[in-house]
């Protein structure tokens, strides 16, 4: 990519036209959707893919000899290749469809970690993990008298790599770290962190739930062993997501759930399992949503991602400086490498009250702990307000939010 390409302006109004929901009103006001870290909105092509599937070729897959089943199977199977190319995986066989990031992490905790875990062992996570990248490890560790240890961060929300290095002891059986934090916006140096873990022979899982929507991902370059993400946060439907795992590790893992399609043959005496990745996809697959997820990847491929990233950088800079210039606002998370996510608290004002006021103005943002309670405990706050952007957002939306925030703060201080 040339500098030229990267600096070509992103055509945000064209992009907005692809997202039907962005035209709607809320409480009589135009919707300002700034809750993208919770879930993204969907382009028309994704919604149409669902309609097309159900009106034209809905069928159960992989075992049907008839045309609809064939068409559905091909469409479903083709998405595996799309995912492979999207994250630059070595082969399709490394792509497992799951319900989403949470299930991907649970699958690794159950099929990879648990059989390798003994008393005294350690799973290393960072201080800014989402509950979905904490609780599955706690559950696995509890069952084996192992423990979860924490890579500390500083007040800006930056991980302490020196401390991390020292934590990489032989007891560590896995490092599980978030690529892009959903509550702080921090982008962690996962490539470097993976390399450090690998020096000690420790495998690494990267939680990519937020990362995939904010820039290209290359799992081979990153070097990690597992990469988990959700369709719904990257323009696709709810109900599906991906576990990418290195082929040799996946081969070594026992199945997670049992049922149809994950078997080679079943008898009451002896059941043998299918090959990877099918071994990990028991039961009727979420066919429609996987196919629509494929449409979401097509949408990303049609987007000028460099320009979109530059646009998001601009959104982040504008939101940060606007909020900084307001009285009583304290930004939570000031890492130098940050995605377009801004958390803040407004003096002594209750975040929910303020969030509700913004809602009366049609502005959707999130308040609370964002499923990262340990982060809130770290900062000694019950929660934050969080604005989180995607390429279809505008600085005008930020300005509307800032004005409403201002009014809300005076109302609630009164």
């Amino acid at each position: 990519m040339t500098m030229q390409a990267a600096t070509r302006a992103f055509d945000v109004s064209a992009a907005r036209k692809d997202f039907p929901i962005l035209d709607r009103k809320v409480h009589g006001k135009p919707l300002v959707y700034l809750d993208n870290a919770a879930t993204s909105q969907k382009p028309r092509s994704v919604i149409d893919a669902l309609t097309k599937f159900y009106t034209e070729y809905n069928a159960n897959i992989h075992r049907g000899v008839h045309f609809l089943s064939q068409q559905a199977s091909e469409a479903y199977d083709a998405v595996r290749g799309k995912v492979q190319r999207f994250i630059h995986a070595g082969t399709e066989r490394e792509v497992v469809f799951t319900r989403g990031t949470t299930e991907s992490v649970n699958l690794v905790a159950s099929s990879f970690l648990k059989p390798r875990l003994s008393a005294g062992d350690v799973v290393l996570v960072s201080a800014m993990e989402h509950h979905s990248n904490i609780v599955p490890w706690q559950m696995a560790c509890e069952a084996c008298q192992a423990s979860v240890q924490v890579i500390p961060m500083d007040d800006t929300g930056t991980l302490d790599l020196e401390a991390y290095r020292n934590l990489l002891t032989p007891a560590v059986k896995l490092v599980a770290v978030v690529h892009t934090s959903n509550s702080l916006g921090t982008v962690n140096p996962v490539t470097e962190m993976t390399a450090l873990a690998h020096e000690q022979g420790i495998p690494v899982l990267v939680d990519g739930a937020q990362a995939v929507a904010h820039g290209p991902v290359d799992v081979q370059e990153m070097g990690c062993d597992f990469f988990a993400f959700s369709s719904h946060k990257m323009l696709g439907p709810t109900g599906t997501g991906v576990l990418w795992a290195r082929e040799d590790l996946l081969e070594s893992m026992p199945p997670y759930q049992g049922g149809g399609d994950m078997i080679a043959s079943v008898s009451f005496e002896k059941t043998t399992y299918n090959e990877i990745p099918f071994r990990f996809e028991a039961g009727t697959q979420n066919v429609a949503d996987v196919i629509a997820f494929g449409a979401a990847i097509d949408y990303w491929n049609g987007l000028d991602r460099a320009a979109a990233a530059a646009h998001e950088k601009n959104l982040l800079a504008h939101a940060t400086s606007s909020l900084e210039s307001m009285n009583g606002i304290r930004l939570i998370g000031r890492a130098s490498a940050k995605a377009a996510v801004v958390s803040f608290v407004a003096g002594g004002i209750n975040a929910l009250d303020l969030g509700m006021y913004l809602d009366t103005q049609g502005i959707a943002l999130r308040t609370g702990h964002h499923c990262t309670e340990p982060v809130m405990d770290f900062y000694g706050i019950p929660g934050t307000l969080r604005v989180s952007y995607l390429f279809y957002n505008t600085n005008e939306e930020t300005d509307l939010m800032i004005r409403a925030l201002d009014r809300g703060i005076s109302l609630l201080s009164g």
Partner: protein, 143 residues
């Protein structure tokens, strides 16, 4: 002393003046800001209501067969909701509180507008108020 139904009716009439959710929200915030504070010594676990996203403390006492509520929250909006409940239920007979249906909450369009977690909080508050009322009905004791 007005009945629960009469008080609910008044609130419904008040809210009838508002066209938008924004106006209702502001009115509830005002109610919250005007709610008399609960003495600090009651901000403890014994008086805390479980199941609310915000912290809510509730206390009540009985005088002459009537039940009186005082409450507080870290959220002004929740205080406003409490104010509405206190307005309707405080000073009523325990038996009437225990059996109150509180249709005004739907009638003023509160439930459609507040997040589900909030609605659960509201349900928890109501449940706790009724629990107190039932306790008074049978024992006449304070809480």
């Amino acid at each position: 002393m007005e009945t629960i139904a009469e008080r609910e009716h008044e609130i419904i009439t008040d809210f009838g003046l508002f066209d938008t959710w924004e106006e209702k929200y502001q009115y509830i915030i005002e109610l919250g800001q005007k709610l008399p504070p609960l003495d600090n010594r009651y901000h403890d676990d014994a008086h805390k209501i479980k199941g609310c996203q915000s912290s809510v403390w509730l206390r009540c006492h009985e005088t002459d067969g009537r039940i009186y509520f005082e409450a507080d929250s870290d959220s002004t909006f929740v205080k406003g909701e409490i104010a509405l409940l206190v307005n309707v239920l405080s000073g009523q007979r325990p038996a009437d509180v225990a059996s109150a249906e509180l249709g005004f909450i739907d009638a003023i369009g509160l439930r459609q507008h507040i997040a589900v977690t909030r609605a659960n909080g509201l349900a928890s508050m109501i449940r706790q108020m009724k629990t107190y009322a039932i306790a008074f009905e049978s024992t006449g004791g304070g809480a």
